[in-house]
């Protein structure tokens, strides 16, 4: 347990020693701010968080592979994985520590993004339940994207390769609905249920659907689990 916390603490600190944290935060908020302004200026006076939230989600979708590409690839390349493996910690602890570290960074990003709802509350009267639901949706989809990126990072030693694989995974699960329409019958329906964007719809309507919440948690769990299996398998 302590090992998980140590690894995640180091991970979070590592983000802020390298320029990556600042670049991701800057890019994220510049684009969100800019597009957000355009959207709210054009779509005019609706005090709804949904516009900026869906913007944040799609921008984070593009940025998440950059956030996660380092996680395991760098350890492998630097040779520090050899130390972690030969210390009295389990592979699961290493992976969970890494995941938690990236989640903490996502937490920082989310915390800064609270400026949007705060401004909305100051200048308008947004529908509070809808706002909170869409924020929860953002957190859930963010955690899932990070879990996917973590898995991608376990596949390659090169960060660039990890980022590309991660990005491909994210895109595939994002537009799964599109694929599903090409496949008819039950397979198509089944594919549609794997779509990230489809499960996000309910949150943006202000509905807390237990099934959708479970979907994101299960997806995160699955990718973390796959990462652990992948690393374990490589050692045997």
């Amino acid at each position: 347990m302590n090992a998980i916390w140590s690894i995640s603490k180091r991970e979070l600190r590592n983000y802020f020693v390298s320029p990556i944290a600042y670049i991701i935060l800057a890019v994220f908020f510049i684009i969100c701010g800019l597009f957000g302004y355009i959207v709210y200026a054009a779509k005019a006076p609706y005090a709804q968080l949904i516009y900026i939230m869906s913007l944040m989600t799609s921008i984070f979708m593009f940025l998440s592979p950059m956030l996660t590409m380092r996680l395991l690839s760098e350890e492998k390349k630097q040779g520090t994985m050899e130390m972690l493996y030969t210390c009295p910690v389990t592979v699961a602890e290493i992976v969970l520590g890494k995941y938690l570290g990236a989640l903490l960074f996502f937490g920082v990003l989310f915390f800064v993004s609270l400026e949007f709802p705060v401004f909305l509350m100051i200048y308008g009267k947004p529908d509070l339940p809808v706002m909170l639901a869409s924020m929860l949706g953002f957190i859930l989809v963010g955690s899932t994207l990070i879990a996917m990126g973590l898995f991608a990072s376990s596949l390659a030693e090169s960060q660039i390769v990890s980022a590309i694989i991660g990005f491909a995974l994210v895109i595939v699960f994002w537009v799964m609905e599109f694929f599903s329409s090409a496949v008819s019958g039950s397979v198509g329906n089944w594919l549609a249920t794997l779509s990230l964007s489809k499960h996000l719809e309910s949150f943006n309507k202000g509905v807390l659907d237990g099934g959708d919440i479970f979907f994101f948690l299960a997806m995160s769990f699955m990718f973390v689990f796959l990462t652990i299996r992948r690393l374990d398998w490589k050692r045997w």
Partner: protein, 309 residues
């Protein structure tokens, strides 16, 4: 302390290590000697639990590496060939992190880090960023990391690679000072490196143990090189009087004649050689014990192995 039995590792169909068996007692410094690609790193990685053996097993400090890997890892310090350092971290933060990972209790942490800094002699750089240290210091930080948990067994993979001669001597002294209470297993592809630090030497060739031998056998106490001024024929005649010379090789080096003598017995023949040379009226300008080269040692042991089959 270390008991390896029939350790075997295949990478897919490729055999990396086969049937490796050896032992190391408490307090011993044991060297794995072999050319690059002989399987030294693979052996060490199996012992440290980096990956599992295909078959066979080993016991470290009484615990089986497959049955109880966590117990083994708690008692082990490992310095991989590629230094496991986070270059963006400060030395003391890095050691703090590793001690957390190694499960050292919060109360003891500060003392253990201080002790490791002292043992590796890096107190003066503890506030510096690892990436900016010289190679020699990085090596020591790696060593400090391995020493953090007061390991009973220390496994060092090529600990002197990439260092300059002065640093090599320092690290060698450091390793020697670590022996005694700990069992040290180190690897190298450089013969003098192993013969200078280790009492027991295990020669690895093509994934197998070619020989288990000791320092004296490798250092070549039985070979003497002499350099003479004078007629070579006279020298040969003079040396033929010395009894236990088994083999003489002759070479010319400018005006000098260089002879490599191999003694057949265990007695020191230097006195007899000196007297014989002087009596024959030749001038002796140099005499020393000639160590074997790695190639010679290999030929010697691998040839023996072939004969045995």
């Amino acid at each position: 302390m270390i008991k390896v039995s029939k350790l075997t590792k295949y990478y897919g169909p490729t055999r990396a290590v086969e049937d490796v068996t050896f032992e190391a007692e408490k307090g011993e410094i044991v060297g794995l000697l072999g050319p690059n690609g002989a399987g030294k790193t693979t052996i060490m990685r199996m012992l440290t639990g980096y990956f599992a053996p295909s078959s066979g097993t080993a016991k470290i400090a009484g615990f089986d590496i497959i049955e109880e890997p966590m117990e083994v890892k708690k008692r082990l310090g490992y310095l991989p060939e590629v230094l496991p350092l986070y270059y963006e971290m400060v030395v003391s933060d890095y050691l703090e992190f590793v001690s957390e990972i190694k499960g050292i209790a919060f109360k003891e942490r500060r003392a253990k880090v201080a002790k490791a800094l002292g043992l590796a002699r890096i107190e003066d750089v503890k506030h510096r960023i690892i990436g900016r240290l010289s190679r020699g210091y990085k090596q020591r930080v790696g060593l400090a990391q391995a020493l953090l948990n007061d390991p009973e067994v220390l496994i060092l993979d090529e600990p002197t690679i990439g260092l300059d001669p002065k640093q090599i001597i320092e690290i060698r002294e450091l390793i020697k000072s670590l022996g005694g209470s700990r069992t040290v297993l180190l690897s190298s592809h450089i013969l003098p490196e192993v013969s200078m630090t280790c009492e027991k030497i295990i020669i690895i060739n093509k994934g197998r143990v070619a020989a288990v031998t000791d320092k004296a056998a490798i250092e070549g106490k039985d070979r003497i090189l002499i350099k003479l001024l004078g007629e070579p024929a006279k020298a040969a005649a003079a040396l033929s009087k010395v009894k236990s010379i088994a083999n003489v090789e002759q070479a010319n080096e400018g005006p000098y004649t260089v002879l490599t003598l191999e003694s057949s017995g265990k007695d020191d023949i230097r006195q007899d050689v000196f007297k014989a040379v002087v009596e024959s009226g030749l001038v002796l300008v140099e005499m020393r014990q000639a160590s074997h080269t790695l190639e010679e040692v290999f030929l010697k042991y691998t040839a023996k192995e072939e004969d045995a089959r």
